[in-house]
């Protein structure tokens, strides 16, 4: 999150802030009409990245819940390691489903990233 958002915040130029306040905008109005709209693509792409990250998180989920919550990665883990259920092919199918979802998220990410770099020059 920080890695994606920090360049966007640095990219907010001081001049925009000054221009806004010399036109009589308050701090809130500046963020509402200038800051946040410019940063929207960056925020959204951070959202996409974090979605992918949490969607596929296995270690944290398994460590915290011990596998009692039926998330996709944990289900894959059960199918693979086969404590109760042992069906690697089902695991593979689930993994491929995850891959499709992640690929879709990446397709969203690339144009967002391009859009975000528009103001960075």
């Amino acid at each position: 999150m920080i890695l994606v958002i920090a360049p966007a915040i640095e990219g907010l130029r001081r001049e925009w802030r000054e221009a806004a306040s010399s036109l009589g905008a308050s701090s809130f109005q500046f963020w509402r009409h200038v800051g946040i709209p410019i940063m929207t693509p960056s925020i959204l792409s951070a959202f996409v990245l974090l979605f992918g990250n949490s969607f596929s998180a296995y270690a944290t989920a398994y460590g915290l819940t011990g596998g009692s919550v039926g998330l996709v990665p944990i289900t894959i883990g059960f199918y693979l390691s086969g404590n109760v259920l042992d069906d690697p092919h089902l695991g593979q199918a689930l993994a491929f489903g995850m891959l499709v979802v992640l690929a879709l998220m990446m397709l969203l990410y690339i144009p967002l990233q391009r859009r975000a770099s528009r103001w960075s020059r």
Binding site: S56, Y62, P73, L80, P88, M98, L102, A103
Partner: protein, 363 residues
């Protein structure tokens, strides 16, 4: 003197909040780890003792550490020449490799392990059943983006073309260029990549757990499921160990940086004449002109003193030739270097230094 900078109060507030965000869980874990495993009463170090004396602890941590070293070495061996070659000869491939490096970012370990278990099925046992085979293969994939992006940054900040040309025109081979010219220049970025790799491998749970290997993270998870208080202790210890490993890598790297590499002028001239012989295909001799410095008699003594002082810095054997110049009839005193052998050849006097450095000629 730069004016002293104060931290603004609101910045300090945010800093404290950030520090609290990281420190409160750590402190809570510490307090929890000090409780007795039987009674839950504070404060005892018994949990730490129990973990340290657990044979599984030292075994798994050694496994994880060897795994990370193996991964680091393998990744460096694979990637340094590749990135070097791409920067030197095939700059158009950079975007392709950059895209390939994104793939392990996008594809999470949980998917990777499903694929790898299937792909590696049927490989020999020493690979498939050993962590040092299977897991390293997986970890090299995981470490690839981190190592690639740090190396790519490092190579972008140096002038690969000039360095290569300079080294080759002094007659170095590809291997020499890579090991003695390029590698020292990208050392910091290679180190940064190695840190990241170490951190990743020391903390990787998904692949190790699903492929049924016993590494340090799976050991932590096992303790976590079975014993509450020692789990906090082992978590803190894993923190400490990872930080210590990083610190030692940093120290090794830093010690390397300040070691000067002596340049042997003779070797450079020899390889230059080698190169010319190879290029021109005939007998070529390269002779270096003597470096002449005209000095008055009293200056000569000063030079000698300096040489004496520097003697321990001068690593390679060399020669100091003192010639009597025209109009400096009363020139020389005895040269008294350690182990110096003075030979008089006509009007010349030569003194040979046992452990002196580059050649110095005085006339």
């Amino acid at each position: 003197m730069t004016p002293r900078r104060f931290i603004a109060p609101d910045a300090l507030l945010w800093l404290l909040l950030g520090a609290a965000y990281f420190l409160i869980p750590l402190i809570a874990t510490l307090i929890f780890s000090l409780r007795s495993n039987q009674t839950g009463a504070c404060c005892t170090l018994a949990n730490y003792g129990e973990i340290i004396h657990d044979p599984q602890f030292s075994k798994t941590i050694r496994t994880s550490f060897v795994l990370s070293l193996e991964t680091i070495v393998l990744t460096l061996v694979l990637l340094v020449p590749t990135v070097y070659w791409v920067h030197l000869k095939l700059p158009r491939l950079r975007s392709v490799i950059g895209f390939m490096a994104l793939v392990p970012f996008v594809i999470p370990p949980i998917i990777l392990v499903v694929g790898l278990l299937d792909v590696y099925k049927g490989t020999p046992t020493w690979f498939y059943a050993e962590p040092y085979g299977f897991l390293v293969a997986a970890y090299v994939i995981l470490a690839f983006p981190y190592m690639y992006f740090s190396l790519d940054n490092g190579f972008r900040s140096i002038d690969v073309h000039t360095l290569t040309e300079a080294s080759q025109s002094l007659g170095a081979r590809w291997t020499t260029t890579l090991v003695r010219v390029i590698l020292p220049n990208i050392r910091s970025s290679a180190l940064a990549g190695s840190f990241l790799t170490l951190a990743i491998v020391m903390g990787e749970f998904t692949i190790a757990s699903l492929a049924n290997f016993h590494t340090f993270p799976t050991y932590i998870q096992y303790i976590n499921e079975t014993q509450a208080y020692p789990a906090a202790a082992v978590t803190l210890m894993s923190f400490a160990i990872t930080w210590a490993a990083m610190l030692s890598l940093l120290l090794i790297g830093r010690r390397g940086v300040i070691t000067p590499i002596p340049l042997d002028l003779n070797e450079a001239i020899d390889s230059l004449s080698d190169l010319l012989r190879r290029a021109l295909g005939e007998q070529v001799d390269v002779a270096a002109h003597r470096v002449l410095a005209v000095a008055a008699a009293d200056r000569l003594q000063l030079v000698e003193q300096r040489l004496d002082q520097r003697e321990q810095d001068l690593r390679l054997a060399g020669e100091v030739v003192v010639e009597r110049g025209l109009g400096h009839a009363e020139l020389l005193g005895e040269i008294a270097h350690r182990g110096a052998r003075v030979a008089a050849v006509g009007e010349q006097r030569a003194s040979r230094l046992e452990d002196a450095g580059p050649r110095v000629y005085r006339r």
